[in-house]
């Protein structure tokens, strides 16, 4: 199915509960009306680069923000990040890593690949909401994207 709508936020996350929480948090402050959820790395790449299942898409129909988990089935989060940031067509889309991993290696690797932010998923719901709100606040509202349509 071809989608012409401008998706605002792409959320790539495999755990249902975490999806639930994140969506609730995003909707709370109403940062975006159009949120696309994908549950593994392969689908994410297909969507972003308009291949496979999503070949009908326009590649330049980019989301305003990608929230990316690291531990994904099929294709790993870091690999998705690398592909997005290394492609001229997609590298300007802000990608924020939202993961449970607090490991030095993951943090440094993410920034090396060009992540625009790295948030460790807080435990408490209220903290979680705050963290997501901060992300939303900044990337959707406060910051000026390059070349808005």
């Amino acid at each position: 199915m071809t989608e012409h709508n401008n998706i605002e936020i792409l959320l790539v996350e495999d755990r249902e509960e975490d999806i639930d929480l994140t969506l609730k948090a995003l909707k709370k402050d109403n940062f975006a009306s159009k949120i696309k959820v994908l549950k593994d790395g392969e689908k994410a790449l297909e969507y972003i680069f308009a291949t496979g299942e999503y070949s009908g898409r326009d590649v330049y129909d980019l989301p305003k923000l990608i929230i990316l988990d690291l531990k994904l089935p099929k294709v790993d989060g870091l690999e998705v990040l690398r592909k997005i940031k290394f492609d001229d067509r997609t590298k300007l889309v802000p990608v924020v890593i939202l993961t449970s991993s607090n490991e030095e290696s993951d943090i440094s690797e993410s920034y090396e690949l060009g992540a625009d932010g790295y948030i460790v998923k807080p435990m408490r719901f209220d903290n979680f909401v705050k963290a997501v709100a901060d992300i939303g606040n900044y990337w959707m509202l406060a910051h000026k994207p390059l070349g808005c349509k």
């Binding site: 929480l21 609730k24 449970s100 979680f128």
Partner: protein
Amino acid sequence: MNKNHVPVQSSIGFKLLRAIFGLYLIITAIITSVHIAVEYERAKDEVKKALAFNNTVMGQTLSHQVWHLDLEALDHTLSGIIQMPYVVGVSVHSPEGTILARTGVVSVKEKDNYLYRQSNVKNGIDEVSYSNNLFWHSFELVDTNYSVSEPIGLVYMYSSPSVIAVKVQNVFIPIIGFALIKVFALGVIFLYFGRRILSRPLEKMVTFIRELPLINKQNDDHYSKDENELEILETALFSMSERLKETLIELRKHHNHLEDMVQERTKELEISNRYLEEAVKEIETFSYSISHDLKAPLRAISGYSGMLLEYYSGSLDEEGNRFLSVINDNAVQMSELIEDILQYSRMVRRPLEKGEVHIKKLTEGVILELEGEYKDREIEINVKEMPNCNGDSVMIKQVLMNLVSNAIKYTGNKEKANIEVGSKQIDKETVYYVKDNGVGFDLKYSDKLFGLFQRLHSKKEFEGTGVGLAIVERLILKHDGKIWADAKVNEGATFYFTL
């Protein structure tokens, strides 16, 4: 008899001296003999000359007497001649061969005989002996008037070796005497100097050699009686070289054995190392995945209970809300525990990397990082001058972080918090300390202080899982240092450590 002495006869010194002495004797003997022979001949010559002299002296008289056939006068003359030195006999013969007159010892040619008979007429008795050792000088008598050209007679003047012997005696004796003296002197010299210059040093050398430990002790008792010092030396050196060869071979064997052992040990160590490395890697992956897989459901528990509180608190009464809070709190607590365990194991696994550590700078950095913890409070942190130390800066930073954050945490109940970080010298050792004026603790429980998850205060009073000090202790121990604490309840605590 001292085993170490070489019997005199075998000694090379003795042999040398003996050889020289012997040669000298022989040479002296030969020379003396030659000298004597020469002297003898000389004497003989002199005698002959003397006899010949008589010729001129007595010639005329004798020819006159023979011419006149004056036998009596002839006899008288002969008895006069015989008085002359060296003459033992005179005989006057006619040209045909008959004896006209004779005195003393003369030799008479026997008919058809080559022997010359010695004949001595004494008191009318003719003593005859056979000997060839007479020698004579003969001359012809000639007519004094030279009227007849042929000889008229033959005179034989005899002399014997005994005459010469007498003559030579005077020369011989000094010659032989001197020769003997020379030989004797040399003998004495050899005896004295030989001993000093040869024998004693040789003796010392032999003693030394025989007491060397390197000589094969088995041959000790079989010193050949005939060995001279040089042969002893040769045997000793040979024996030594044999021993050295043996030792070298053994050394090489040992060396090879050691090398083999070293190789074995190295292989064993490599295997152990590999196991350890694998084990460490396994733990790492294990703890990494554990943390992720455990935290996810916890996040769900906490999140959903949180959402309930957020969106459905109205539908629940106070107690219901409290239940939800409890669920939430416990989920959070568990996740914190997991994080702490992870951190503890990570810290403990890390290998020590030693370098120079600027503790003061490190402390100041830590305080900056912890700023968030005490933003809203009245707090004074005093960092004193501290000497640098040798250690792993990452670990030391963690130690300071934990201690300072503890200090900040446990002074939370005081209006003004005073924290001091410094060092002092105790028994020539540098002791660092972190001091606070917080809630302190009862020294009674000080041995529980550093236990993993051990806490001396409840969660309600102060948050924390009790892993901070356990980590600190492990890190200090890794530096072979010591850590201890002093405190008074409600007055504060001081943590001391050395590296």
